[in-house]
Subunit: 190 residues, 2 copies
């Protein structure tokens, strides 16, 4: 696959990057790398693009490894639609390409189907065969189509004014209310 600067990675090189970032060479990352590649191939060269990922499982990390779109810079947003799909789109015009895994194609690649639908426990899956099928299938696993983002998604994110919480003393966005959300009961820890 390739990254946003057009640098090509061999499978092994990409595996190394996956392991260093994600912890292990998950099949979803390997597939995701092909999906990013396909989307980049269809975007006009040199545009600034943002990313949408429709699942939080594995796929966001393929985007983060191969593009400059990340969780922390806001150019990648995960929306929990649960479909194995990503979209890369022109940051300003919102025209882009959506790439999704196409279930109708999976019958031709049974080990990929087994992994994706968890038809066998993980210990019984054939990992080398799975990786081979992902490689052999290439773009055959995917559907790509042009999309237009809705206009509200084209606004940059905006924190607004930062103020200090009268209860905990920490800084938070004024628009969250009179006290911060943590003090409103949303903190996940004691």
């Amino acid at each position: 696959c390739r990254d946003y600067e057009g640098r090509e990675y061999t499978f092994e090189e990409y595996f190394q990057r996956i392991r260093a970032f994600h912890g292990y060479a998950a099949p979803g990352l390997i597939i995701g790398g092909r999906m990013v590649d396909l989307a980049l191939e269809r975007l006009p060269a040199g545009i600034l693009f943002d990313a949408i990922c429709e699942t939080s499982y594995c796929l966001p990390d393929a985007i983060q490894i191969l593009t400059l779109c990340t969780t922390g810079n806001g150019w990648l947003r995960v929306i929990h639609l649960g479909r194995f799909a990503l979209t890369l789109y022109d940051k300003y015009q919102g025209k882009g390409v959506r790439v999704s895994l196409n279930p109708a194609r999976l019958d031709a690649w049974p080990e990929v189907k087994t992994w994706f639908y968890k038809l066998k426990p993980k210990a019984e899956q054939d990992t080398p065969l799975l990786r081979q099928q992902i490689r052999d299938a290439g773009s055959d696993l995917f559907t790509a189509r042009e999309i237009q983002m809705q206009s509200q998604w084209l606004r940059g994110r905006e924190l607004g004014k930062t103020v200090n919480c009268p209860l905990c003393g920490e800084a938070f966005p004024e628009k969250h209310g009179a006290i911060c959300r943590g003090c409103q009961g949303e903190a996940p820890y004691e």
Copy 2:
């Protein structure tokens, strides 16, 4: 700062990693690197840990660069409390350390305060001075405290059964309903 394996980075080395991943050496990433370092210092060595980040601005990327906790492997979760804080905690017991930026400390570091509360437009901020103050302040900017995660946060994430949507034909988690969320109207594109 250091990463989860104890590898120390000079400021310049860490800047290079920030630029390669996040796109630019944002102050929030530089501060975030110190926060991760402080949390790692206080965690027992060798435990498996997950991460919570209370803002989506910059800080998640400090965690992703310096630990193996990422958006795509699920070991990093962003909860939108809006406070500039992160927590690293034992994956199984939930005991951890929360590190937050302490607004009461910022008067001593006026360029950091100016940046954080956006007291001047970005073009008028003194970036070299800001970076110098972040460096000089070190851990003085932060509060660290031990926390215990609530038990529901200790369950691993679970997709459940995957089925195909009768409308769009794509795969999605059965628990999302009779049709996928995209077909329920939640997709952000035409």
